[in-house]
């Protein structure tokens, strides 16, 4: 068919973020053992409890097995062949942005995340993470006026040790799963957010993760705490250069919402996905979980996953507080030989808890795109409700889509509703739009945007536009 080939051309997208920053880095030697962990911890001048946290995680990790239940196929990862700490060399301790290597600022400039005072984004505070370390965080003073803490997790360990000791690992325990244990043992940096009681964060907060080295893994850790009646919207973006080797990214994100607090966590993930033959690309194994600890608290995940060779992530909500709310809105686009196994877990523990799941998977090329989700109603979840909707769209005839919903209920007085659908962009739909003068590429991207609309509506404004553009790019072929 004529159009089949056209669709294939259209979904070929040049990766715009594939450049490498030529910068002197400090790397430790390859491999993973107790000494490496001690070295990372000492480089970061960590307190003893944190070193113990790492060593304990490492011990457990050694006894664990890499999970193989996901619909993913990849060559075995050699964990001894990875560098666990890589940081751009800084001459001295820096106290302001002026002292940051201009090459790094330039890198983030090129990625559309200007950090300098003159150019920085006006409505968003940014924490920029380059390989293993946080480079800069903007708007810190302005945020501090409201009592909001926004800094790298390394700084938080130094300056807000009480909060770290109390909450780190409280949502995702060090031994939660294989990749979370690995992260707990070797995590290098990430973002920390604390919103005090009653404060609505005056601007969106955002982290931008950049992997630069080809042989280092990135293991960042994010911790967000929203005290009573506070709220925050947090955005996360990710890119990496094109290498023909696979780079491991294993992150942990923990969110804690107390009474009446709300956290909105949005991700646009565009890690390098590998080439058309499936060579290279990021292995993205991420554990993201939020704990609705307080009554009437709310945690909302929205994600647009377009990159990575392998995506394994299930942003989840533990709904403990009475009437707490969990949401998961996801668009996952896979192309070529990309594989994604993603979804969510909604664990209803408290009474009258509510959750909503809307997942849109788009598979093109020879890619594999699976939704995997768990909805669980515990014994005390009286009057709890869940609504799930999982839609898949297939482009071309070689891609595959799967839906694996797991539902368990121990509470009769609760409701679970699940809807699923699969559709294909049909030749007839394309012809209909084309016969109205709409270009082929625009027709495809109109239909994909239409398919994702329910999710895009949930993204913060700046992000919705970016996500729409990103999908269009992925689908627009050489024009981009």
């Amino acid at each position: 068919m004529v159009n089949e080939n056209l669709v294939k051309d259209v979904v070929k997208e040049p990766y715009k973020y594939g450049f490498v920053t030529d910068i002197e880095t400090e790397k430790i030697s390859k491999g993973l053992n107790e000494d490496i962990i001690r070295l990372i911890s000492s480089k970061k001048e960590e307190p003893e409890y944190l070193l113990n946290f790492r060593l304990n995680a490492f011990k457990k990790w050694q006894q664990m097995k890499e999970p193989n239940w996901a619909e993913l196929g990849y060559d075995e990862i050699n964990y001894q062949d990875i560098i666990y700490y890589s940081a751009p060399k800084q001459k001295e301790k820096i106290s302001s942005l002026d002292q940051v290597d201009p090459k790094l600022l330039e890198t983030f400039d090129k990625l559309g995340i200007p950090l300098t005072e003159q150019k920085k984004l006006t409505n968003v505070a940014v924490d920029a993470v380059f390989d293993s370390v946080s480079i800069a965080t903007t708007f810190r003073e302005e945020l501090a006026e409201h009592g909001v803490i926004f800094c790298s997790i390394s700084e938080a360990v130094k300056n807000h040790s009480d909060l770290i000791e109390k909450y780190l690992g409280s949502v995702v325990p060090a031994t939660d799963n294989y990749f979370a244990a690995l992260n707990s043992a070797v995590f290098s940096d990430g973002s920390f957010v604390y919103i005090p009681k009653g404060v609505t964060c005056p601007m969106d907060l955002s982290s931008y993760f950049r992997i630069n080295s080809g042989d280092s893994g990135q293991f960042e850790r994010t911790l967000i705490i929203a005290e009573e009646s506070s709220s925050v919207s947090y955005l996360e973006g990710c890119t990496a250069p094109m290498f023909d080797t696979n780079t491991l990214h294993a992150a942990v994100v923990e969110l804690i919402a107390l009474d009446d607090a709300s956290i909105k966590y949005s991700t646009v993930q565009n890690w390098y996905a590998g080439n058309e033959e499936g060579i290279g690309g990021i292995f993205n194994f991420v554990t993201k979980r939020g704990k609705c600890l307080g009554n009437r608290s709310k945690i909302s995940w929205s994600q647009v996953e377009t990159g990575s060779a392998i995506t394994w992530k299930y942003p989840s909500c533990l709904l403990l507080g009475e009437e707490s709310i969990g949401e998961f809105y996801s668009v996952a686009l896979t192309n070529n030989l990309q594989q994604a196994d993603t979804g969510t877990k909604m664990i209803h523990i408290g009474p009258k808890t509510k959750s909503t799941i809307v997942s849109k998977g788009i598979s093109a090329g020879k890619s594999k795109n699976s939704y995997r989700g768990l909805v669980k109603m515990g014994t005390k979840a009286i009057g709890a409700k869940n609504y799930s909707q999982c839609d898949s769209m297939l482009i071309g005839d070689q891609a595959s889509a799967n839906t694996f919903p797991y539902i368990t209920s121990q509470q009769q007085n609760s409701e679970i509703e699940h809807e699923a659908s699969t559709c294909r962009i049909s030749e007839d739909q394309l012809f209909y739009l084309q016969s109205r003068g709409i270009e082929f590429e625009e027709a495809v991207s109109m239909m994909v945007s239409g398919f994702c609309r329910d999710v895009f509506n949930q993204l913060p404004m700046e992000f919705a536009a970016e996500a729409d553009k990103l999908l269009a790019l992925k689908l627009e072929g050489s024009v981009g």
Binding site: M1, V2, F431, S435, E439, M446
Partner: protein
């Protein structure tokens, strides 16, 4: 009746057209010429190739032209993409308009109209100007503006879908409009609305081809020529009374033509 401009060049000239899909011949030498202001009707049994002819003229990718040519405004369009044909003024009204979930009808109509306007070197319309234009055109087909906020054709009744097609015809102001069984599935009232819309949109520069099984649409819109198709060929051409004879005698009557020819 509109004035004919027969002295000018034809808008559409289909010349001895052969076409197939999956190596199965569907059209076996079709010729038809449409001049400005003319209304042609193509009639015939199911499967005679009349819908295929309309799709091929609009550029459907499932069919291959094996011989012959389609000239539109004196240019061969055989190898043009469907969107290029649409932008230059070929309009196909679908027998079964396609549902496009998630894409708002208003946005679809606007993008489509602007693609045509761009080709005509007219200024593209922003959302506000477009809404003014579309509201004016909605009158023609007696559609409520609530249609605009719904997804393209999704959940539309059969009659609403057909009216949406005619709305698109009004917005795109084509040089040739091929309306494939626009009358099918319509009750009498809806048929009158659609027919009156078509009449209001048509003008002496536009050519119209009505593809239909029945006389009832032709009672509303009187054709200048009626063509009878059978097995991928036009087997008889006549004036509007040919349709009346067909209605009276049925398609069996045309089987004799094939034998005669």
């Amino acid at each position: 009746m509109q004035t004919k401009l027969k002295e000018s060049a034809p808008i559409l000239e289909v010349n001895n057209l052969f076409a197939s899909t999956d190596n199965l011949p569907i059209l076996k030498g079709v010729s038809i010429k449409v001049y400005p202001g003319e209304i042609h009707a193509i009639m015939g049994r199911n499967g005679c190739g009349k819908s295929t002819l309309s799709k091929i003229i609009a550029g459907h990718p499932s069919y291959n032209i094996t011989k012959g040519e389609i000239n539109f405004l004196e240019k061969n369009v055989n190898s043009l993409e469907p969107e290029e044909r649409a932008q230059s003024g070929i309009f196909l009204g679908f027998q079964y308009p396609i549902e496009i979930p998630g894409v708002s009808n208003l946005e679809f109509l606007r993008v489509s109209t602007n693609a045509r306007r761009k080709f005509l070197k007219q200024e593209e319309l922003d959302t506000f100007d477009f809404e003014d234009l579309v509201k004016e055109k909605l009158e023609l087909v007696k559609m409520d503006s609530a249609f605009l906020s719904r997804s393209v054709n999704q959940g539309f009744s059969g009659g609403e879908k057909k009216r949406n097609e005619i709305l698109q015809m009004a917005l795109l102001d084509p040089s040739i409009a091929i309306l494939d069984e626009t009358d099918s599935g319509l009750d009498i009232d809806a048929l009158r609305i659609v027919a009156s819309g078509i009449k209001k949109i048509s003008n002496n520069k536009m050519g119209i081809i009505l593809i239909t099984h029945y006389q009832r649409l032709l009672n509303e819109i009187k054709p200048d020529y009626v063509h009878v198709m059978s097995d991928g060929q036009i087997i008889k051409t006549g004036g509007s009374d040919l349709a009346l004879e067909l209605e009276k005698n049925g398609y069996e009557w045309t089987d004799n033509f094939e034998k005669e020819n």
